[in-house]
Assembly symmetry: C2
Homo-oligomer: 189 residues x 2
């Protein structure tokens, strides 16, 4: 069981532009982005912040084909929010707030042998990092710069640094980088 | 002849931390960073901003071994600055200001068949991009996040996007990504 932050970023470290848009991502050719199918099969629980959740809701509302307008995940999803947000009929969505550690314990129990996916945003991933709960980063570096926007991971992680585990070219549009997260304290494992 | 922006960035898109320091870079194992020797052989002219230049000066001043305290480049270097800065004895350093285009023409003439290297910072590389003069990005993504600092390339480049040409894993500390820059206007070449 691993806790993984998996998602796309611009080359300059933004996961959404200043208007919270992912238009720039839609314009790239993602047909060579082959890791998602394998990745999602091993996910047993999903965590996301309210901006990420609302982005998905807006996307679902904009899709014309009803078959495409369904909640995309079979796994239970925990949405971190201090606000009251609408649910999605037929989807297992649990609204939570406060510290990530107790919620993570709940997610791990639900995931069983499978992994916990931090779907975004960067601040939520940062809170899992702060709590010593983040094991891996799997980042698809998109072939764009945005200049401003929502940061990939608003933390300083350089001592110890991350450990690069693999790089994969996915066409002209993406490079996928996988990192193991290390912490300063001795790892008992 | 190509104009190339070559340099290291954190995973979250910063080339120096908030204190203009590269300490985080020195801590990484760069022994697998094999591209520099081949890259610098083909460089005929170097452009840098005043912060990059002053960083090199501070570095030279801090080195104890006089043999290591020499200006590191044989190629002529153009330093873009609006201030009066000290030169380095025995080094071919030319202080310039204003538009990058006429300076670039001068650099190309000096470089002959060789390439023009934009050594940093991000704003200077952005000015070469704005002028349609930047051909390639060669970025070593360091296995760290900084959370804040000097941006890699403070521009929005997504339409057209960059074109990823290659990815290379350089040990656990770096992934080198090479991009071709495209412009919206028709390329006559």
């Amino acid at each position: 069981m691993k806790t993984q932050y998996y998602g796309a970023s611009s080359l300059d470290g933004f996961i959404a532009d200043e208007r919270h848009s992912l238009d720039w991502l839609d314009r790239l050719d993602a047909s060579d982005m082959t890791s998602y199918g394998e990745f999602i099969r091993d996910v047993g629980a999903i965590a996301m912040g309210s901006s990420t959740y609302e982005f998905i809701l807006r996307h679902l509302a904009s899709v014309e084909d009803p078959a495409q307008a369904r909640w995309p995940y079979e796994q239970p999803s925990w949405v971190f929010t201090s606000r009251t947000l609408p649910g999605v009929p037929g989807a297992d969505i649990r609204f939570v707030s406060g510290d990530v550690a107790p919620v993570h314990a709940e997610m791990v129990a639900a995931a069983g042998e499978k992994n916990v996916w931090i779907a975004g945003g960067g601040e939520l991933a940062g809170q899992f990092y702060d709590a010593g709960l983040l094991d891996e980063l799997i980042i698809q570096i998109a072939s764009v710069t945005l200049g401003a926007g929502a940061p990939l991971l608003p933390r300083r992680i350089d001592d110890p640094s991350l450990r690069l585990r693999s790089v994969q070219m996915c066409g002209e549009g993406f490079a996928e980088l996988r990192y193991e997260v290390r912490y300063a304290w001795p790892d008992p494992s």
